[in-house]
């Protein structure tokens, strides 16, 4: 049974959601304010944390910031529907997924399961331990990224997204496939989660030294990791 920390200031909502999630075989603890949520999160007792942004004392983003570097429990951020800014900031802070609130509980459960599968998968040792594409080397066992021998700090989700993209380096990967392979769930309408993760990875890796784009957007389809050697030969 998976243990979930549910942090939301709406007590009644927490009660209902606990009931729902218990029926779906989760063990749920609730926190009604940011400080309690942070305290409980730092115990490391949870498989996953569901964090609402609007909370008294410490808001969700502050909790996320204070958690970073101390515990690496995956986080799903609940953002207020219609507040695009919160959503973007939440992902920039390094949440693993987001869900607009009010949300369908079935969707929440689907996201929880996908995230848990991802975490478990990343814990299993890979057969192929290292993968190099151009000046970029990623270690699948250590889950680290080296760019010209400089280490790049990626979150677990970002690592998964980059890995999925590198598996098809030099070819266009559509967003459905990318979402399925890296977030282990289906792409839903108006779901820009994958775009947000990629924009963060892009920022962290930067362009090629000659100014060429490392990760290109192919309009309406998806993304491509550009391999420079291939482009030159072709």
């Amino acid at each position: 049974m998976y243990r979930i920390l549910l942090a939301d200031d709406d007590v009644e909502l927490c009660r209902l959601l606990t009931e729902y999630l218990t029926a779906e075989n989760f063990d749920v603890d609730s926190a009604y304010d940011g400080e309690t949520a942070l305290e409980q999160a730092l115990t490391g007792n949870y498989h996953i944390i569901v964090l609402d942004i609007m909370m008294p004392r410490l808001n969700g983003l502050e909790v996320l910031k204070k958690m970073q570097g101390k515990v690496d429990t995956p986080v799903i951020m609940l953002t207020a529907r219609g507040d695009d800014i919160d959503r973007i900031v939440g992902l920039e802070m390094g949440a693993d997924d987001y869900l607009p609130k009010p949300c369908n509980p079935r969707e929440l459960v689907a996201r929880l399961r996908a995230l848990l599968r991802r975490v478990e998968k990343s814990l299993k040792p890979e057969k192929e331990s290292k993968k190099a594409v151009g000046d970029l080397t990623i270690s699948l066992t250590e889950r680290t990224v080296l760019l010209e021998r400089q280490s790049v700090n990626l979150t677990s989700t970002e690592f998964n997204v980059l890995q999925a993209l590198l598996n098809h380096a030099g070819e266009v990967v559509d967003k459905q496939k990318l979402t399925q392979e890296s977030l282990l769930r289906k792409l839903t309408p108006h779901d820009r989660s994958i775009d947000m993760h990629l924009s963060r990875i892009r920022k962290k890796l930067g362009n090629y030294p000659d100014g060429g784009q490392r990760i290109k957007t192919i309009r309406g389809i998806g993304y491509i990791y550009v391999v420079q050697g291939l482009a030159a030969e072709g």
Partner: protein, 455 residues
């Protein structure tokens, strides 16, 4: 202008066009001479006396018996002629002149003679005092410092100055008030009236203060309306969130017994959710005066993404959304906002286009503008309602209960978003019945297209 004309006329009328001194001045001159005669002034003294009038506008001359002027000036021919014609009439004493303290012996008519000649005996020598009293004629009259032209010029300068002063005092503030009301109409309520008008103590100042008060009242009314929409939407979110979870619980426990009903409830909850989210988006856009973040955007890419998304949704009702014409172009703006504006417009078009038809989208460039056209094949909208389409929750026909409901908030959001991009949306009916939306946006010209543009 009437004021200007009147003041000019007044000034022109005020001056007379006579070359010589006024009768009273002439009499005074004569009295001076009389005094000098009594004191037996010599030629030198008379010359000195005459010299002080040398620079006057009105020329007075004194000539001796030989016809030489005392200050060697050229005497007007007419005066010399008159002197010749007039028989020399030596004065017997000074009795012809007034005595000190007595009224002048000469009457006004005599003093105003056009060619005034007065014999004077000084030190036993006969002199003549000559004054040119003729009226000025022709060009001389026109260009005399107090002639018509001179007076008109002076009148123009003076009344022009007065008019300028009056205009700057009365008309300029009214112009400023007018521009302030334009600002109020454009939605800028605070500080719309200039401080210099508010500070005035006259009626214009009163008017300015009243305007300011009115603007504040309108602003607060508008704000409270927007705040109500925002607060209601905000407050609806928490019960909706709980409702959705409770619905999930009901699903878990129904064992498939009331599944269709629960699905129906779920659909309506989803619609409510969308409505709340849109209301909040609109409220946020209404609060924005300008875009928080502006970047060069490739509008074509954004449009393609919106068209592909809309086409995907449209296929559910056997419709298509096609991009008939595309052009590479760059705008300055916010990509998320622009995308949501286009999505809302496309979704609306898909909603109203009949089954098995297509929504046509095109993008065209002019010198400095981009025109995106979205046309559906629906029934169009009555001409008088075209402008109202962009009002939140507008319905074309109050009584109509269309399956799709009203136009909701989507178009209001799109309009506001385009407005924030310095653009405009026009709705019109096409000849074959559908509705055409034209989005006009300023083209970012100086930006080379090859450069990387955020999508």
């Amino acid at each position: 202008m009437a004021l200007f004309g009147a003041s000019s006329a007044l000034l022109v009328a005020h001056f007379k066009t006579v070359q010589g001194p006024k009768p009273l001045q002439t009499a005074r001159l004569l009295r001076h001479l009389q005094g000098m005669m009594r004191r037996n002034a010599d030629r030198e003294l008379i010359s000195d006396w005459l010299r002080q009038y040398q620079d006057d506008v009105f020329k007075i001359y004194i000539v001796d018996e030989k016809g030489d002027e005392l200050l060697q000036r050229v005497v007007p021919e007419a005066l010399l002629q008159a002197l010749k014609e007039k028989p020399p009439m030596p004065l017997r004493g000074f009795s012809r002149f007034s005595r000190p303290g007595m009224p002048p012996l000469m009457d006004r008519a005599e003093l105003e003679q056009p060619l005034f000649i007065k014999p004077v005996v000084l030190n036993g020598e006969l002199f003549h005092l000559l004054i040119d009293n003729r009226r000025l004629r022709g060009l001389a009259r026109l260009f005399h410092p107090f002639g018509i032209a001179g007076r008109i010029v002076i009148a123009f300068i003076l009344s022009g100055a007065i008019c300028f002063f009056l205009a700057s005092y009365l008309i300029i503030p009214i112009k400023k008030l007018q521009s302030a009301t334009h600002r109020i109409a454009g939605g800028q309520f605070s500080d719309s009236i200039q401080a210099e008008i508010i500070a005035r103590k006259d009626e214009i100042g009163d008017l300015g203060r009243d305007f300011e008060y009115m603007a504040k009242r309108i602003e607060s009314a508008l704000l409270s309306q927007q705040r109500l929409l925002r607060d209601v939407s905000h407050e609806l979110r928490s019960p909706l969130a709980r409702l959705q979870i409770a619905l999930g619980l009901a699903h878990q426990r129904s064992n498939g017994l009331i599944e269709p009903e629960l699905d129906r409830i779920e659909l309506e909850v989803e619609r409510l959710n969308d409505l709340v989210a849109q209301s909040l988006s609109l409220a946020r856009l209404n609060n924005q005066i300008q875009l928080a973040e502006k970047k060069p955007l490739n509008l074509n890419e954004i449009l393609i993404q919106a068209v592909l998304d809309a086409d995907y949704e449209a296929q559910e009702k056997q419709c298509r959304v096609v991009l008939a014409e595309s052009a590479q172009c760059t705008i300055l703006g916010d990509s998320t906002l622009m995308l949501s504006a286009l999505e809302n417009l496309l979704r609306n078009a898909v909603n109203y286009t009949p089954v098995d038809t297509q929504v046509e989208v095109s993008i065209e460039l002019s010198d400095d503008e981009i025109v995106v056209t979205i046309s559906d094949q629906g029934d169009g909208v009555p001409e008088e309602s075209l402008d109202d389409l962009f009002k939140p929750f507008f319905r074309v026909d109050e009584a109509r209960t269309h399956l799709n409901g009203g136009y909701g908030i989507g178009l209001a959001i799109a309009e506001r978003a385009v407005h924030l991009h310095q653009g405009r949306i026009q709705a019109s009916n096409s000849e074959n019945g559908g509705l055409i939306m034209r989005i006009v946006l300023p083209l970012l010209i100086d930006f080379p297209l090859g450069q990387a543009v955020e999508k």
